[in-house]
C-alpha cells in the first residue's frame, strides 16, 4: 500500500526517506515541489497529487510535509490517517514532532517507521505496543543502557499484540494510581457582521491520562449523556454498552490517549461565549479606522482567558497604528496579519483596540473588511453542558485518584466584519 515516505521541511529539504518496498528515487518529490510552488500557502497543497506512475499523498503538520508515495489504488484516507498517526506517535515519544526533534531522534524514528509498516501495511500502530517494542529514550534509560549494555529494542513480542486488548500493555505498576480526564470542547462559529450567529458547532473530546496498575476496568458515566449523539471512541470502549446503557466502559491503555471525541452539530443551540463590537472602515486617500472591542457573553460566570484576536488585513494595507487598552498587539507587515493578545477579559473594563490603518498609496480601497479569528479558553466549563457523573473502577483492589477537568476553547471562531 504505502510504498515510501519522504519527510520534507518548509525549505524544501528532503531530510528523511523510508522505503517499505523497493526504493523510489527521491526525485519523485519534484512533482510535489512543483505543486507546492503553485500553492499560496503550505496548507493549500492538495493532499493527493497524481504523477505519471505514482501518487503522492501528503499531509502538512508541524511545519513538515510528509509525503507518502503509493503506486496503486488505495483509500486515500487510509494513508492520510496513517501519516497523522505517525506524527501522533512521534509527539507521544518525543514530546513534539518538529524537524529538529526528528533529526535528533532519527534512529528511534527510523526504527518506529520500520516497525509500523510491513510491506506498506500497518503492522503495529498501537502506542502501547510500540513502546514495548522500542522504548522511548530518556536520559535515565540512556545511562542505564550504557551501563548495562541493554538496548531500547525489546526482544520479545509485546503481549498486547496477541491479546484481544492490544492497546494495553501488561504488567503495569504504579505507586500512585491516578486517572485524569480532560473534557475539552472547541467552539467553531461563524458570526456575521451584525453579531448574529450564522453557524456554530462544538467539537468535544475526552483526553485521558490513566496511570493505573494491573488491568483496571473503568466505567465513566455522564450526567447528561443525551447530549452526545455523534461520537467516536477509542477502540477500548465497549460500544455495545454505550448503545445499551449510555456508559463508557473500557479497559484503558496505559498513559495518555483520546478516549472519545464527539460532535454537537449546527442543529443544536450552541452558546457563544464572547462577542465582538467592531467598526472597521476604509476611506479613499486617508486609509481607514479600526475599532474593536471584545466582551464576554453566556460564560456562566466563568472568566474568559487567553483571548487573542487575529485580523488578516487586505494586501493593500501598509501599516496599522493602534492603541489597545488591554494587552498588546503585533502587526506582521509581510503577511498583513495583526494579532492582539488580550489575555483575560475583565468584565468591568472591556478590552478595546482602536487606531488608524494606512493604505498603500494609489492602491484602491479594499472592498471587504477582514474576517477576525478569535481565540479564547474558558476553564472549568464545558460549553455544551456535558458533565461527568462518576468514574468507577472494577477489576483492581486499590483506590485510584480521579480527576476531571473541563476546558472550553475557541476552534474556528470567526467574526465577519
Amino acid at each position: 500500500m504505502i510504498h515510501s515516505l519522504f519527510i520534507i521541511n518548509n525549505a524544501g529539504d528532503v531530510f528523511m526517506e523510508k522505503h517499505w518496498k523497493s526504493v523510489i528515487n527521491r526525485s519523485i518529490c519534484d512533482y510535489f515541489f512543483e505543486v507546492q510552488s503553485k500553492a499560496a500557502t503550505p496548507e493549500d497543497v492538495p493532499p493527493v497529487i497524481s504523477t505519471p506512475h505514482h501518487y503522492l499523498i501528503n499531509i502538512y503538520r508541524s511545519q513538515l510535509h510528509l509525503v507518502a508515495v503509493v503506486t496503486t489504488e488505495v483509500p486515500p484516507l487510509f494513508v492520510i490517517e496513517f501519516l497523522h498517526r505517525v506524527m501522533d506517535t512521534f509527539e507521544d515519544y518525543f514530546g513534539d514532532s518538529s524537524e529538529a526533534t526528528i533529526k535528533e531522534q532519527y534512529v528511534v524514528v527510523y526504527e518506529l517507521l520500520d516497525e509500523m509498516l510491513d510491506n506498506g501495511f500497518p503492522l503495529a500502530m498501537e502506542a502501547n505496543i510500540l513502546k514495548e517494542l522500542i522504548k522511548p529514550s530518556n536520559i535515565l534509560r540512556t545511562i542505564a543502557n550504557t551501563m548495562t549494555g541493554k538496548s531500547n529494542v525489546s526482544g520479545t513480542l509485546p503481549t498486547g499484540q496477541l491479546s484481544n486488548i492490544p492497546w494495553r500493555r501488561t504488567g503495569v505498576k504504579y505507586t500512585n494510581n491516578e486517572a485524569y480526564f480532560d473534557i475539552i470542547e472547541e467552539v467553531d462559529a461563524i458570526v456575521d457582521k451584525s453579531g448574529s450567529t450564522v453557524a456554530a458547532e462544538i467539537q468535544g473530546r475526552v483526553d485521558a491520562t490513566v496511570k493505573l496498575s494491573g488491568m483496571p476496568d473503568l466505567t465513566l458515566t455522564f450526567m447528561n449523556p443525551r447530549l452526545l449523539d455523534d461520537l467516536s471512541f477509542h477502540p477500548c470502549v465497549r460500544f455495545k454498552r454505550w448503545e445499551a446503557e449510555r456508559v463508557i466502559s473500557f479497559v484503558p491503555p496505559d498513559g495518555s490517549f483520546r478516549l472519545m471525541s464527539y460532535h454537537i452539530g449546527t442543529q443544536n443551540l450552541v452558546a457563544i461565549p464572547v462577542y465582538l463590537r467592531h467598526n472597521i472602515s476604509f476611506r479613499e486617500g486617508s486609509g481607514g479606522r479600526f475599532d474593536v472591542s471584545v466582551g464576554p457573553k453566556q460564560t456562566m460566570g466563568k472568566t474568559v482567558e487567553n483571548v487573542s484576536l487575529e485580523v488578516p488585513f487586505p494586501k493593500s494595507v501598509l501599516n496599522v497604528t493602534l492603541t489597545p487598552n488591554v494587552g498588546k498587539y503585533t502587526f506582521d507587515p509581510v503577511n498583513k496579519i495583526m494579532v492582539w493578545e488580550i489575555g483575560r477579559i475583565d468584565p468591568t473594563k472591556l478590552p478595546n483596540i482602536r487606531g488608524s490603518i494606512s493604505l498603500q498609496s494609489g492602491a484602491p480601497i479594499p472592498e471587504s473588511n477582514p474576517t477576525i479569528s478569535v481565540n479564547f479558553t474558558i476553564n472549568q466549563m464545558a460549553i455544551s453542558g456535558l458533565k461527568v457523573n462518576r468514574l468507577d473502577m472494577y477489576g483492581e483492589k486499590y483506590k485510584p485518584f480521579k480527576g476531571v477537568k473541563y476546558i472550553t476553547k475557541a476552534g474556528k471562531f470567526q467574526v465577519r466584519t
Binding site: M16, E17, K21, S22, N25, A40, T41, D44, P46, P47, V48, S50, I59, Y60, V70, T71, E73, P75, L77, I80, E81, F82, H84, Y106, V107, V109, Y110, D114, D118, N119, F121, P122, L123, M125, T146, G149, S151, N152, G155, L157, Q161, L162, N164, D188, I190, D192, A199, D230, S232, F233, P235, F239, E243, R258, S261, G265, P312, E367, Q414, R416
Partner: protein
Amino acid sequence: MASNGGFQNSGYNNDRPPSSTGSGDADVATDPASSSFFMNDYKKHDDLKQMLDTNKDNLKLEAMKRIIGMVAKGKDASDLFPAVVKNVVSKNLEVKKLVYVYLTRYAEEQQDLALLSISTFQRALKDPNQLIRASALRVLSSIRVPVIVPIMMLSIKESCNDMSPYVRKTAAHAIPKLFSLDPELKDQLIEVIEKLLADKTTLVAGSAIQAFEEVCPERIDLIHKNYRKLCNLLVDVEEWGQVVIINMLTRYARTQFVNPNRDDMIEEESEKAFYGSDEDEEKEDKEEEEDDKPKKKPYVMDPDHRLLLRNCKPLLNSRNAAVVMAVAQLYYHCAPRAEVGMVAKSLIRLLRSHKEVQYIVLSNIATMSVKRKGMFEPFLKSFYVHSTDPTHVKLLKLEILTNLGTETSISTIIREFQTYITSTDKEFAAATIQAIGRCASTIPEITDTCLNGLVRLMSNRDETVVAESVVVIKKLLQMQSTDSVSQPQEHKDIIVHMAKMAQDITVPMARASILWMIGEYSDRVPKIAPDVLRQCAKNFINEEDIVKLQILNLAAKLCITNSKQTKLLCQYVFNLAKYDQNYDIRDRARFLRQLIIPGEKAGAFAKYAKKMFLATKPAPVLESKFKDRDQFQLATLSHVLNTKATGYREIPDFPEVAPDPTVRNVEVPTAWVADTNLLAQKKKKKGGKVKPAKKKSFYSDEESEEDEDEEEEEDSSDETDSSEEDSSEEEEESEEEEDEEDEKPKKKSKKVEDEEDEESSEEVDSSEEEESSEEEDEEEESSDEEPQPKAKSTKAKTGATSNAAMLLDLDFGSTVANPAAVGKSDFLMPVLAQDMSSLSLGGDTGGSTTVTAPSFIPTKTYELLNRITGGGLSITYRFTRTVSIFSEKMASVELTLTNSSDKPVLNVKIGDKKLQSGMEIFDFPEIGNLGVGATVTATMGINFADTTQPATFDVCTQEKKFSVTVKAPVGEQIQPVNMAENEFDKQQGKLSGMNENSGTVDMATENTDIKTISRRVYEVANVVQVPSMQDNTYKFAGKTLSAGALVLISVKLDGRKAALKVNCEKMVIGSMLLKDLKDSMTKKD
C-alpha cells in the same frame, strides 16, 4: 546517487578488505557527481567499517546508528554492505534490528552479498521466540533477491502454519512481496492465501485480506466460506484491517447480493420477471427459499447482506477516519436507500479532523450530495466556509452547498454566497459566482434574483469578479432565452448594460462573452449592436485572439441581420483578420467571408447563412463537477483524482439474480469436523477444559451400546450417524438447503471416532456460552421449524444409501428411538460450532481429518502356517483394512484356518507372544473344534506400533505349539482419512525435508489413467484419495494406525513419468511406502 552506487558496486563487490581503499578514493575523486562532502563521507565510512569490525557492541551500535542516519537522509551507504552484513548474527538486539533495516534497503543492490545473510534468517525462522521468527520472515521476504524465491516460498508456507498469529500475520504480509518478485508463483500463493483466509484470529484477518486483494482479487470464490466469519470478526479486527476488509466486502456484496433498491427502480418488472410466470416458479423456487423470502414481498434482504451492514454500523464510531469512510461507502454502494442517511452524521464529524481528511471527506460528500440531496441537507451549515480553510476545501464546500440548494434553503445559501464574493481569495470568489449561476439555473424561482445580483456585481471593482459574472450571466441568459422564446424583450436592459460595459472590461473571456451575446441577441438591441461593432473594429488589432474571433462572429451576425448598417464594417473587420498572425482567425475570416459576403462564385451555402448563424443554440448545462464521479467507488484514490488509478477495480453492478447464497454456508463436513477437531485440541491444550463425553448429542449411550455388535462387522452405524449429523447440520444452517440435500444422495461415509462424540457435545456446551445475536436469530428461525428436521434427516438418510445400505434399518430405529437427537440445542450445534471455531485460534492441525472407510480391500493372503509344518493345520492371513474392534490402533488381521489333516484340531488359540515394545495383540477367540476339512475364519487385532517389525506369537492347538510371525506391509498400518485438498497441501507443506520421500517412476502408458493409479496405490496402502483441483496430480491421505501420524501420498503425472511423493512424520514408513509404491507402479499387470 545512481552513478555513485554503480561505481561502488564495481569497487566493492569483490569484498576488498577495507584497508585497501586507495583506488576507491581515486575513483571518487574523478567521479564528477561526488562532491567534496562525499570525500569526507567516504573517509567516515572507513572508520565506520572499523567500528563494525570490532567486537564491542556499543561501537557497533554507534556505527549502525550513523549508517542508518545516512540511509534515512538518502545518502548512499551501499559500500558498507559487506561490513554490515556480517553483523546480522549480532547478539545485540538493537544492532540486529538496525542491520535488518539496512539489509532491506540495500539487499536489492548487492544481491550476492545479501545471500550471505540468508542462512541466518532461515535459522531464525526456527527460533522459539515468535518475534524473532516474525522479524526474520519480514526481512527475508523484504530482500528482493530473485534467487531466494524458493526459500521465501518455503518460509511463507511454513510460517502460515505457525503457532503464533503474529508470525502468520507477517506471513500474510510476505505474500504480496513474493508475488511482486515472482508473479509466476501466483497459484501457489493463492493456496497459502486460502489457508490464511481461513485463519480465525483477528490479527491475521486484515493482513490476509490485504494479501488477497493484492494477489488474487478476482478469486471472490475464496471469500464465500469466510464471509460470515469476516463479518462477525470485523469489529475486533484492528482498524487498518477493517478498512481493507470493508472495501473487499463491498465488492463482494455487489457481486453476491441483489440490489436492495431495485424495488424503487423496477418494481413492476421485477414482480413479473421473477415471480409472475408459472414456469419460472419452479426454477425460482429454490432461489426463493434460499433467500428466505416470503412470496408476496418483492425483496427481502439476504440475511448475509444484512449481517454485513449490521456489523459494520458500529464502526461508524471508529476514531479512524478511513474506517468511517469505508463504512460510509459501503452503505452508499450496498445499503437500501433509506439507511444510507445515517452515515451523514459521522461524515460531518470527520470534517472537524485534519484538513487533509476534510478534503477527502468533502469530495466524497460532494459526490454523494449530487444523488442524495436529502442526506446532507440537515447539515447545511456545517459546510459554511471559514476564511481560514485552504482553497481546495473552500471550493469543495461551495460545490456541496450548491448541490444541496433547494427552493427552501436557497435563500440562505445565496446570502452566504454573497459574503464569499468579497473574499480576498479570488479563485474562491470566482467559483462562488459560478456557483450562484448554477443555483440560478437549477432553481427557476431565484433565477431573476440571481441575475440582478450578478448584474450588480458587474460594477464590482474587482475585475475577476466582473468577468466571471459576465460569463455566468451570458450562460444564464442563453438558457432563459431557450426556455422562453416567447419573451424576446426580456432582459433587454441587461444586454444594454453589458454592451455599455464592453469597452471597459479587459478580461478577454468576459469581453468575448459580451460580444457573443450582443451578436446573438442583436435583435433586442438593434441600435447599440452596430455601434459596439464599430468600436471593436477600431481596436481589433489589439484584442486577444478569443475576442477577435467573437468580433468576427459579431460582424457576421450583424451583417446578416442588419447588412445596411454594418456591411462595410464587416468587410473592414474581415480584411483586418485576413492578415492576422493567428491562422485560426485568418481561417475564420475566410470562411465567414464566403458565407456572408458571397462573391461571384458564391457557394450554395451562402443562402443558408442566416439559418446557420442565427439558429437557436442549445443552452449550456451548468452542472456539478461531481456529477459523474460516482462511477468511481467512493473513498478510493480514483474517486479523488477523478481518473482511474493504477490497480483500481470497478465497482461491479449488482447482479440481477443473486448467485447461490448457500456457498457461504460452511457445510463441507470435513471442513467443520476439522475445525471442531482443532477446537477440541486447542481446548485440550489449554488445560483440559474438555468435559468428559457427555453423550448429549445424537450418539446417545443406548444407541452406541446397541450398535456395538454391528460395529464389529465393518462400516459401523457410526458411519450413518455421521451422515445424519451432516444432514442435520446442514439443515439447520439454513433450511433452504434441505431440498438440495434430498436430491444429492450422500456418498460420504465416515467413521466417527469416539473423540468426536466428545467434541460434538463439547461444542454444544461451549457454543452456548458464546451466542451472538446473529446466532440467536438463527435459533429463532430454526426453532420454528423444530419438528421438521426430524423428518428431513430421515429423508436425508434414505438418500444416504451408500455402502452402508444394510445398516439403514437399524439406523432408522436409532433415530426414532432418540428424538432428543434432533432437539433444539443439538440442532443449533454445528453453526455455533463453526462460529466458535472461527473464534478460536488456529493452531497445529495434526489430526484435523476424519477416518474414513477403505477404498479398496485387498484379497492378497499371506501364509502364516504351512500345512506341512502345522501337521495338517494351515493358516493364512490377510489384512481386512477395517478398523479393529479391539482397539483403533490395531490392524485387523483375518486368519483363515483350514484343517487338512484327518482328525479334528481342538482348542486353537494364541499362546505366548514375543512382541517388540509397543506392540500389542488381541487374540482371536479360541476355536474349540476345527473339524476335518473345515475352514474357519477368525479376526485378531495387532498393533504394530508403526514399525515394520513382525509380530511373533505361538498358535497352540491341544497338542502342539507353532511359532508364527505376522508381518505387515507398511501400507496396511495405515488407515484412510478424509481431508480437503487445502488441508492436504497444508499438511504436506509441514511434512517437508526429512519427512518427505520422493521418487520418479516410469510407467506403462496404459497405466497412467487415474483408475489404475489409484488402484495401484490402494493395493499398496490403505489410503483414500483426496479430491484434487490440479490436473494430473493425485493425492491420497491416510494416517498410521498406532500413532496417527499423517501419511500423504501424491502422484504427479508427467507423461509416462510419475513423480511420487510420500510425506510422513515416520521416516521409515515414508521410505518403505515409497519403495512399495514404486514397485507397484512399475509392475506389469
